[in-house]
């Protein structure tokens, strides 16, 4: 019998440093599968963020640059502008993209930079150990919000896909999740579509992926999936917020 399932070529065989139950591994795989299927590994440059995925380049097998915190979209802009023939993607978390990197992502999206953003939203800072993120839910506990996020002090969680979907510039903006196999399959399609739009030189593409952080949420992986389903999805509604066909 032939091999029916194997590691995508665009993924290295290194063990990841991600915690048990973390969904980074799934999303890494989906990105690598999209790269493989589009046959773009050798012209792809990834940008690693600051956050849990800071060493994403250890797991992807393609050229990579490592950004400062939040600046990945600016670096991707630099690369894509001078080398439009390359396929460029950033892989960023919610602290990186929605907090310190808000300026860079909004402006890159609004200029319609033709690269792809994979945005992992797990409603917390992972690498630094569970601090409140702009995406942390009301009442959700974090090390810098021990009594739970007080929205009177810190505002409501930012919905990045909704925000970018409001921009007038054409683009592909979608929110997906990887909490069950059905969602994973849909997320896969969206990620591949995002890269496809870039390959066609069509538009900026942005895939927000609702993810889990069992370690910093203080939950088992299974409970984390359930909590995300029950708490995050009603607020972070899944679906396309903008497609280039809208225009």
């Amino acid at each position: 019998m032939g091999k029916t399932f194997s590691r995508p070529q665009a993924l290295s065989d290194n063990h990841t440093h991600y915690c048990p139950g973390c969904t980074h591994g799934i999303v890494h795989r989906l990105v690598a599968e999209a790269i493989d299927e589009l046959g773009i590994q050798e012209k792809t440059v990834g940008i690693a963020p600051v956050g849990c995925a800071v060493m994403a380049y250890n797991y992807f097998d393609c050229d990579f640059q490592e950004a400062a915190h939040g600046r990945a979209p600016a670096m991707a802009t630099g690369i894509k502008r001078v080398r439009p023939d390359l396929v460029v993607f950033t892989y960023q978390g919610d602290g990186d993209l929605a907090s310190i990197g808000m300026g860079e992502i909004i402006h890159a999206a609004n200029r319609g930079e033709k690269f792809t953003v994979i945005f992992i939203n797990n409603a917390i800072y992972g690498m630094t150990g569970g601090q409140m993120a702009p995406t942390t839910m009301p009442g959700q506990r974090a090390t810098t919000a021990p009594a739970g996020r007080d929205t009177a002090q810190t505002g409501m969680p930012l919905r990045m896909a909704n925000l970018l979907g409001e921009l007038v510039t054409p683009g592909y903006v979608t929110r997906q999740a990887v909490l069950n196999p059905k969602q994973v399959n849909k997320a896969k399609k969206a990620i591949k579509q995002a890269f496809q739009y870039q390959v066609e030189g069509k538009c900026f593409s942005f895939v927000e992926v609702i993810s889990t952080c069992p370690t910093n949420w203080g939950m088992t992986p299974l409970n984390a999936l359930k909590w995300a389903e029950d708490t995050l999805l009603p607020y972070y509604e899944l679906g396309d917020y903008k497609t280039p066909e809208d225009e």
């Binding site: 393609c62 640059q65 860079e104 402006h107």
Partner: protein
């Protein structure tokens, strides 16, 4: 080739193109916005890339990205903007990418003013960003040298795989002078396939390239810093540039001054000569690496009684001068930095006070 009359900022833009740089990212700031205005017209004619970023912070990383992808790239800014770019400069130095930054200095600190200043000497030469890195800093004294140094900067950046800064000031950016664009300063393209993340297909390799500055292993980080240090030591050996003026005489006073300020000192030296007073000047053209030996040698000449550093700052380069003179002569300082450039008459009065 005939000379053309150009404003400093525009000449810097043209110099970048002549040096073979086709990529420019910038954010507007007085007194250097003319570089962007010039290049947004000129670069499309050359098939190049012009982009106005949303902030100097973002521009710093556009430069990093473009450079990391192996393309020749430049930005220009002025003091507060360079502060914002300094984060990226630290990353670019750590990741060993070539890039050219031009700082057309204005008065500070804070918002300061928009007139010429030399208040960013420390920032440029001692590290504006965090960590153990140095910038190779070229300091032109006029439009012609701004052109030549901008062109040289690309070659130096690629020779060392390091960020290089051209440190001018608002006077150099704003004034018009006749300039030549020397063809021998064109910088041939260099091969960056060994390290640039320019796509494996670009270099026909199965081995990917990483552009990074994170080294969690202490030994690796130490090694990266040793690699950087070795470059800075090589710069000290190979890249020092300076000019001595009226130094063949038995001067009693040695002026150290650079950039726009050195032009005024030169006039003052000429005027003093008419009065029979010999004063020499050592003008560093590279601020890092600093002309250490030349400064020492010029200071300890028998006739020389004292050294004075004259700057459009509150006393920055003077610290390097003191370091180089090693206590063998008194080192004095005179500076103004509100935006007014001290006149030759002021300098003459100061010098006479020393004799």
């Amino acid at each position: 080739m005939a000379k053309v009359l150009m404003k400093g900022n525009e000449a810097i833009g043209e110099a970048a193109i002549r040096a073979g740089c086709k990529n420019y990212f910038a954010y507007p700031i007085t007194p250097q916005s003319e570089v962007a205005e010039y290049l947004c017209k000129r670069l499309p004619e050359e098939g190049g890339v012009f982009l106005q970023g949303e902030s100097e912070v973002a521009v710093g990383y556009m430069i990093f990205g473009a450079s990391g992808a192996g393309e020749r790239v430049m930005t220009t800014s002025s003091s507060p903007g360079i502060s914002l770019m300094s984060e990226a400069i630290s990353y670019i130095a750590a990741a060993q990418c070539p890039a050219v930054f031009v700082n057309i200095m204005r008065g500070g600190p804070g918002l300061g003013g928009i007139l010429p200043s030399q208040g960013d000497y420390f920032q440029a030469t001692k590290g504006g960003g965090h960590g153990d890195y140095r910038l190779l800093v070229l300091a032109p004294d006029g439009v012609q040298e701004a052109v030549e140094m901008t062109m040289q900067a690309f070659g130096l950046a690629e020779k060392y795989r390091a960020p290089v800064m051209v440190l001018g000031d608002g006077m150099i950016g704003q004034m018009m002078e006749p300039v030549l664009f020397p063809e021998d300063l064109m910088v041939p393209p260099s091969n960056k396939d060994d390290w640039a993340s320019n796509g494996m297909a670009t270099r026909g390799s199965k081995k990917r390239n990483l552009v990074k500055s994170l080294f969690l292993d202490p030994a690796e980080l130490n090694q990266n810093n040793l690699t950087l240090k070795a470059k800075y030591e090589q710069m000290k050996k190979e890249e020092v540039q300076f000019e001595l003026y009226n130094a063949e005489t038995d001067y009693q006073v040695l002026i150290t001054s650079y950039g726009t300020m050195s032009r005024v000192c030169r006039t003052a030296i000429d005027m003093l000569k008419h009065e029979g007073i010999d004063v020499a000047m050592l003008r560093p053209k590279t601020l890092f690496p600093f002309p250490e030996q030349a400064t020492f040698d010029a200071a300890v000449k028998d006739s020389c009684k004292c050294v004075i550093s004259i700057e459009m700052s509150m006393g920055q380069m003077v610290e390097d001068v003191e370091r180089c003179v090693k206590g063998r002569r008194p080192v004095e300082f005179y500076g103004e930095c509100g935006g007014e450039i001290p006149s030759p008459e002021t300098i003459i009065e100061i010098i006479k006070g020393l004799i």
